[in-house]
């Protein structure tokens, strides 16, 4: 008999990284559905097109790096990046916008850093920020709630054959930023007064929340990042709103607007670029939340998930060093780098 020799353990769970990623992709489906319901087929088209672009870019690069293309494509990480970026792009985005964003995300933000596991920044957010800076107009044209275009119209938008202007409108976050401090204007804009928060977006965010809860229940992610994220966003919002409700939006509005839930459950939770210990993740996500609130309230952009996530990606190694758990048998956790505070 020829025997397999291997090191212990000789058994392992049956799941794998690909399955892990697929679970995350599945969990975005409710969000995608609501986005389509609210804003038309644009997002679905975006997502599909993004996946195609991502697979091609990833495949080419894996081949160029001499890797087993099929094996690495099966980890679904490129697909997940594409899906997340596709979800984040406005449904009015033309094909080239997605192409540039996804291409940059996969090639520069991921493969050039060494592929999966090596990228310090969330690739989807790198692509998003690139587009936001390069094409600010195209990136902010969202469809007004209730004005969802039909499938053909969406395709025309995608092909760049239809001017966007007729369909687009300001998002609730945009509207609030414009009229913050002006009580009458704020009261007059119906988009700010949906059933729970901003019109349309309240349902989108609730759908992503649902997907996120599914991920937690499947132990794909832990509660630390979403909780930290949402707390970091809601806590300052609550304080500020209590102080000046005309100048600052209420916490629920913040939580159910823009990319809050998508960011909390799907983007900040990207494990590769996040902090790694439980405590580290809590701190990491909390800071993302606070940063989002600060930029939303005082910055030049209506939403800030991408910027905040990237900034904290940058700080993740640092956070890791200072949030190591207390190892069994040690009286206190290690801090700092190996060279520094040895305990």
């Amino acid at each position: 008999m020829s025997l397999i020799t291997s090191t212990s353990p000789h058994a392992s769970v049956k799941n794998n990284t690909g399955a892990f990623m697929r679970q995350v992709i599945y969990a975005t489906l409710p969000g995608l559905a609501v986005l389509t319901w609210q804003f038309g087929w644009g997002t679905v088209i975006n997502v599909l097109w993004a996946v195609v672009v991502a697979l091609i870019c990833e495949g080419l690069f894996l081949k160029a790096r001499g890797r087993n293309v099929a094996f690495y494509l099966k980890d679904y990480s490129a697909v997940l990046t594409a899906v997340l970026l596709g979800l984040a792009l406005p449904p009015t985005a033309p094909w080239w916008l997605t192409l540039v964003g996804v291409g940059f995300a996969i090639i520069v933000a991921k493969q050039l850093y060494g592929g999966l596991g090596m990228n310090p920044f969330n690739p989807a957010m790198v692509g998003y920020v690139l587009l936001l800076i390069s094409f600010p107009v195209a990136m902010t044209q969202w469809i007004a709630p209730g004005e969802a275009p039909g499938f053909v119209q969406s395709l025309q938008l995608f092909a760049g054959q239809l001017p966007v202007d007729g369909l687009s409108g300001a998002t609730p976050l945009d509207t609030f930023r414009t009229w913050a401090g002006n009580e009458t204007e704020l009261a007059s804009h119906g988009i700010l007064h949906g059933d729970l928060a901003g019109q349309g977006w309240e349902w989108v965010n609730l759908a992503f929340l649902l997907g996120g809860l599914y991920l937690i229940s499947r132990k794909i992610i832990t509660w630390h990042i979403p909780a930290g994220f949402l707390a970091g966003l809601a806590a300052p919002a609550l304080i500020a709103w209590l102080i000046d409700p005309v100048r600052f939006a209420d916490p629920l509005f913040h939580l159910l607007s823009g990319g809050a839930m998508l960011g909390a459950f799907f983007i900040a939770t990207d494990p590769v670029s996040a902090a790694t210990s439980r405590m580290g993740r809590l701190v990491y996500a909390l800071l993302i939340g606070v940063l989002i609130w600060v930029i939303r309230s005082f910055g030049g952009y209506p939403d800030a998930v991408a910027f905040s996530v990237l900034l904290l990606n940058l700080s993740a190694p640092f956070i890791d060093y200072y949030t190591q758990p207390r190892t069994y048998g040690h009286s206190k956790p290690n801090r700092g780098t190996a060279g520094g505070g040895k305990s």
Binding site: I4, T5, T276
Partner: protein, 964 residues
């Protein structure tokens, strides 16, 4: 109310971080009773089934052994005995593949079984409470019991804690948390009473405050059986939730006591002793039944066998025998695991034996335990950190281990990883994390070992450097001393140019080397290095060398003044005498202190002090000489009588010699190391005295010539009295030497033979002098008459030379000379040989030092050898030098002159001859017949004289076997 009820019923069980729930797979094997295992044709018993030193075999191939007979005994404290599991014949003791993960070979005792299963006579202890704990510990030790849960730590160590260690909790590990394994489960179900007895013995040995049994809640029947067995006794059962790795020692301790064992410490440090339930059973069998550990319950499971279950197998049974016993389907087996699926290891071949720690064999089909999927990149998902029972960050450890960043890995507490495999089990990227940790841990340990080695190498290098420096300095000092000695010998009228500067340099270097050595020794001491003592010895040696070098400088200094004007000489000598005296006093003080402290070096110090005293005395004598000589040097002063001066010097030299002999004797009596040295110094002094004596004689003979205006003032001293004195001296020296030799022999000193030989020489000397005395007595009248009163100047040598030459020449004892020649040759070869040996040993040492694998102990041993050989060579050299010196002195004694004088005489005769010839030629034309006749006869006489002088010189040289 309900809660209080629960709390009182279910005692608190704590929790630990992480853990996993792999499929248990226990149902495969826990349904059937423990069955006897096979009786294989051959048993293979590795000598290192346990942690610690491999056992020492007590049998040899061909020996017949009985079941239960000890075939290997524990080698040292952390070791365990091995017994024959059945009767048979030892067929081999040699390397066999064993259970090690790397599939390596190890020394095993192989027994061909005879099938009779014959027990050796054995009996148990029915009431162990009558025995002392120490006795029981010994019983356990010689029963070969080692932790049966997995690690195999000798149990006797764990149950034999020092008195200062109070055991709070005795924790019995009955968790058996690994999937598949059911050996402890079945053992508890079937033999609970015996297990409890074993636990009672442990309680008796350890006297714990509490005894806790931890059992996982997936073994309800075992729990029931144990509960029944320990009804009414002070053993608490703790049912812990099923979770891997709750059976890990530290995890179980945390579960049942809430205590955490500090990183790098043992459970005993928190007052806990943990024992496996199987070990408790083995202890019962050993103590009560007198059966050593020769079999154990092992689970055979996996879908590759048709009758999975638990078997009581003999230790040493090859896995293949058990597989056949359990109905193996060889074609189905894809992986063979010894131990559990989480922490066990795969076997390369089923021929390896099962050992004391083998609790499970899994014969799994490829479907059951499939080949691990290919490794994917770590996505830092953190699943591993979630399950790590040590609360580590496995993903960070992996990252650093992969990048070989050991420092960072250690910072993340790599060494606290228990290699449980929980992280690798959950990793969605199928990274063999534990493999990385094992690798990194090995690298860390290697690094630590390398560091240690480097430190040791550095120390060794420094010591070596110091030694080499010291040797260089010593060589240089010796060279200088020799040069100086040569120059002194040459010491005609020319001022000797002593290279004191070079000597000082050498001395300085020696001091430096000594200081460096002291520093090294101190550092080694502080580090608790093993070779500290060695280094100290080295330092002492270096100090000696430095002292020697200093002495050489001093000697040179004392010799130098000869070059400077007499007034300066006196002043300098005075200062030196002062220095020497104070040095002597300091040495005496040091010696006294050392004696008071009972120091070993007291004798050495005392000898040193004596040496210093001798040198001080010498200097004093020199000072006196210089004082006496000063007036002579002054041109206006009347010429002092050189004879009386020399006489005084001879007296002084003799007394110095005697003092030196005394010192040497004392040193020998004390068995001091430098006795030989002192002895040779005494010999030197003797030679000096002899020379002075010879000079005195010469001076006496030459006195008239030297003082042309004066008539010879006194006839030469009576040779008879002088000879008598000489005989007395030599006899005394001989006696002293004999005594010293005897003492040395009694003390088993190395140089006893040498001393004896010296005594023999001295005896020969004494005999010779006695004979001479006899001869002289007979010739006395002639001699007394002999010194003719020279009528005119040129006639003088004519008459005196032949007398001076012939008299001693007749006294040469050819036999003694031959003997000495032989001895000289022998000593030369002995010295050459010793020197060669020393050189070889030295070279070997240097080679060894350069090599890494030679251990410090070996090096020390070699160093010792080198030192010994060097000593030997030195002794031989000293003896050789002494003999040569003696031979030279002998020539002087025999001829009344030293070789130089002979040579001078010969030369003088030749030149006188030449002068006369010239005169004759000049006169030939002008002078008359008579004058020519007279000159001619004079010339003839001179020719004869020259002939004699030449002959005497040649003879002396030949006889002494010296080639100058």
């Amino acid at each position: 109310m309900i809660r209080t009820f629960f709390r009182s019923r279910t005692p608190k069980v704590f929790d630990f971080h992480g853990g996993i729930h792999p499929p248990e797979m226990k149902h495969l094997s826990n349904g059937t009773e423990i069955a006897p295992g096979p009786l294989p044709a051959q048993l293979i018993l590795p000598l290192n089934m346990h942690i610690g030193a491999p056992a020492k075999p007590l049998v040899e191939p061909g020996d017949r052994v009985l079941k239960g007979q000890m075939i290997a005994e524990p080698a040292g404290a952390v070791s365990a005995a091995i017994h024959a599991p059945t009767s048979g014949t030892v067929s081999a003791i040699g390397p066999r593949p064993i259970q090690h993960p790397s599939g390596m070979d190890a020394i095993c005792i192989v027994i061909d079984t005879d099938g009779r299963d014959e027990w050796i006579a054995h009996s148990g202890i029915s009431d162990y409470t009558e025995r002392s704990p120490g006795e029981l510990v010994d019983t356990i030790r010689y029963a070969g019991i080692a932790g049966m849960g997995g690690a195999g730590f000798p149990t006797s160590i764990k149950v034999n804690l020092g008195d200062h260690q109070r055991v709070e909790e005795l924790v019995i590990n009955a968790v058996e948390c690994e999937p598949y394994i059911t050996a402890d489960d079945r053992l508890m179900r079937e033999r609970a009473d015996e297990i409890i007895t074993g636990i009672h013995i442990l309680q008796y040995l350890l006297n714990p405050r509490r005894t806790l049994i931890g059992i996982e809640d997936n073994k309800p029947e075992a729990i029931k059986a144990i509960k029944r067995a320990c009804k009414g006794c002070d053993i608490e059962i703790r049912v812990v939730p099923t979770k891997y790795p709750s059976g890990g020692e530290k995890q179980l301790i945390q579960l049942v006591t809430g205590k955490e064992v500090k990183s790098g410490q043992l459970p005993a440090h928190v007052g806990v002793v943990c024992q496996n339930v199987g070990t408790a059973y083995a202890i019962k069998r050993a103590v009560i039944n007198g059966e050593p550990l020769i079999q154990r319950v092992t689970t055979l499971t996996g879908d590759g066998v048709s009758q999975p279950g638990n078997y009581e197998v003999l230790i040493g049974t090859p896995v293949s025998d058990l597989l056949h016993h359990g109905g193996v389907d060889a074609g189905k087996i894809g992986r063979l695991v010894m131990g559990g699926p989480m922490m066990g290891f795969t076997l390369h071949s089923p021929t390896v034996p099962m050992v004391k720690t083998t609790n499970c064999i899994i014969a799994a089909s490829p479907e059951e335990l499939p080949e691990p999927p290919p490794e994917q990149p770590c996505i830092r998902c953190g699943s591993c950190a979630e399950v790590c029972p040590a609360n580590l960050l496995p993903q960070q450890l992996y990252w650093h281990a992969k990048n070989d960043d050991l420092e960072k890995a250690q910072h993340h507490n790599l060494m606290d990883c228990i290699e449980c495999g929980a992280c690798a089990y959950v990793c969605p990227s199928h990274i063999p994390l534990v493999q990385y940790y094992r690798y990194a841990k090995g690298a860390v340990r290697q690094q630590a070992a390398d560091q240690l080695k480097a430190d040791k190498a550095r120390q060794r290098f420094e010591a070596r450097q110091a030694r080499i420096d010291a040797e260089k300095a010593e060589k240089e000092a010796r060279r200088q001393a020799r040069l100086e000695a040569n120059r002194k010998k040459k010491e005609a009228s020319a001022a000797p140019t002593v290279d004191t500067a070079a000597l000082k340099q050498a001395s300085l270097e020696a001091s430096k080397a000594y200081k460096a050595a002291v520093k090294a020794a101190k550092a080694a001491d502080a580090e608790g290095a093993a070779n500290a003592a060695e280094l100290k010895a080295e330092a002492d040696r270096l100090k000696e060398i430095a002292d020697k070098a200093k002495a050489a400088v001093r000697d040179a200094g004392s010799a130098a003044p000869a070059a400077v004007p007499a007034e300066d000489v006196v002043a300098k000598l005075k200062k030196q005498v002062g220095d020497a005296s104070s040095a002597y006093k300091a040495a005496v003080k040091a010696a006294k202190e050392a004696e008071a402290n009972g120091d070993d070096s007291a004798a050495a110090l005392r000898a040193q002090a004596d040496e210093l005293k001798a040198s001080a005395d010498k200097l004093k004598a020199e000072l006196r000489d210089a004082k006496a000589g000063a007036p002579a040097a002054a041109p206006t002063a009347a010429q002092a009588d050189p004879v009386s001066d020399l006489k005084k010097q001879v007296g002084e030299a003799s007394s110095a010699y005697k003092a030196a002999v005394k010192t040497a004797k004392e040193a020998e009596e004390n068995g001091a190391d430098n006795a030989a040295e002192l002895r040779s110094k005494a010999d030197e002094l003797k030679a000096a005295a002899d020379q002075l004596k010879a000079e005195l004689r010469d001076a006496k003979a030459n006195a008239p010539a030297a003082v042309p205006v004066q008539a010879p003032t006194a006839p030469p001293a009576d040779p008879l009295t002088e000879l008598k004195k000489k005989v007395g001296e030599v006899s005394a020296a001989y006696k002293a030497a004999v005594k010293a030799a005897k003492e040395a022999e009694e003390n088993g000193a190395g140089n006893a033979a040498e001393l004896r030989a010296e005594a023999d020489t001295l005896k020969a000397d004494a005999d010779h002098w006695k004979a001479e005395l006899r001869d002289a007595k007979a010739a006395a009248p002639a001699v007394a008459k002999a010194p003719p009163v020279p009528t005119d100047q040129p006639k003088m040598p004519e008459a005196s030379a032949p007398q001076a030459l012939t008299q001693p020449l007749t006294a040469v004892d050819p036999e003694a000379a031959a003997k000495r020649q032989k001895r000289l040759k022998g000593l030369k070869t002995a010295y050459n040989m010793a020197h060669k040996q020393y050189k070889e040993a030295h070279a070997a040492l240097e080679r060894a030092e350069r090599k890494e694998e030679v251990s410090a102990d070996e090096l020390i041993e070699m160093q010792r050898k080198v030192d010994k050989l060097k000593n030997k060579a030195d002794v031989a050299r000293d003896a050789l030098d002494a003999l040569i010196e003696e031979a030279k002195a002998d020539i002087r004694a025999h001829t009344g002159k030293d070789l130089k004088t002979l040579k001078l005489e010969a030369a003088r005769a030749e030149s006188a001859l030449a002068d006369k010839k010239l005169e004759l030629d000049k006169l030939a034309s002008s002078s008359g017949e008579d004058a020519l006749e007279a000159l001619n006869s004079e010339l003839k006489a001179l020719e004869a004289e020259a002939q004699i002088a030449r002959k005497a010189l040649k003879q002396a040289l030949e006889e002494q076997g010296l080639v100058e």
